[in-house]
């Protein structure tokens, strides 16, 4: 362990543990997933940063959305995001989730992912290099340190707005609201 960080570890062990064990759920929506195999294998070994790919949303706390999001995949992105345990962070990878990218006038891709689920950070580019993933991870560390990676808290707070937006695009959702009690308290 890095001795310089010992103070930090003693101060806030929870935060440090979150930082260095990012278990990533890759949502292979588009071409972005091409950049992931090199970044998790030997060339740019992602485990140096504590980043490990996991199999299911229940084990993950970093959600990487790689590529464009069509209306059909949005449904599964929301479901996976809601299954992830807190604290959870979302990073949009590539320009398509940011504002549509090259699919800005497509009939079936959603343009701004952050209208439907909270997103903590973006990696711009089409496609970003694997190095950009690690830049994003280190940025995410600083955000976690400062307590600014609070997308999951926002989701809890503004759940009704997010749910409204989701239902506008997908029609009626077939699963019950995730935070129904909180919504009722507010009313």
């Amino acid at each position: 362990m890095d001795r310089n960080k010992l103070g930090k570890w003693l101060q806030s062990p929870g935060k440090m543990a979150q930082k260095y064990s990012l278990h990533v759920l890759y949502f292979c929506t588009g071409c972005g997933i091409i950049e992931i195999p090199p970044s998790i294998t030997t060339r740019w070994d992602a485990e140096r940063f504590g980043v490990i790919p996991v199999a299911t949303p229940r084990q993950a706390n970093l959600f990487l959305i790689t590529g464009y999001v069509s209306v059909k995949t949005l449904r599964f992105i929301i479901r996976s995001y809601e299954q992830m345990p807190e604290p959870k962070f979302t990073v949009g990878f590539g320009s398509c989730p940011i504002n549509g990218g090259m699919y800005w006038d497509s009939y079936n891709t959603i343009k701004h992912l952050d209208k439907y689920i909270p997103v903590d950070g973006w990696i711009a580019g089409c496609m970003p290099r694997p190095e950009a993933v690690f830049v994003a991870v280190t940025h995410l560390w600083t955000l976690i340190d400062k307590g600014m990676a609070d997308g999951y808290k926002k989701y809890r707070e503004d759940y009704q707005y997010y749910r409204e937006n989701q239902e506008k695009i997908l029609g009626k959702l077939e699963w019950p609201p995730l935070f129904s009690n909180i919504e009722n308290e507010r009313k």
Partner: protein
Amino acid sequence: MNHTGTLLKENILSSFDDIHVDVVDEQRVSVKCKKNLVIAVLSYLKRSGYNHLVLISCVDWIKDNELELVYIISAYTEESEKGKMNILVKTRITRDKPELHTVIDVFENAEPYERELHELYGIHFKGHPRLTPLFLEREYEIPPFRKDFDTRKYVQEVFDQIPFVEDKKGGK
């Protein structure tokens, strides 16, 4: 010298009336026929050894008010000349009420292609077992691959109308 295309043209012309065959080159033959002849032509080709339906595609000729369906046929065969052939069977149907009989009876793998065309061009295939949506979740007034579908207008009306959560909170 290879004459597969010319030979095929002669064969088709001798078996069907009211059909137009173009030999683009010796390995690419384009057959234009009326829509009631499609099944007959396809089964004729299948019987003569061209037993693989590669793809069904569609072209929207909006000025002629017609949709053109293109069935691309090739062959799984040991004969090298036949195996290199690509046959395009083209037919035109009206845009206003696009209807056609399904070709599943001849080529079974036509099913997903026809479902896709039904979804993206609004073509109704009579006799198709399930013409349910394949890719799309939302319903569109005009099928989205037709030329008169205005994607920009659609995006402005649907996706751009959804507010950002921050704006929504600020507005309330």
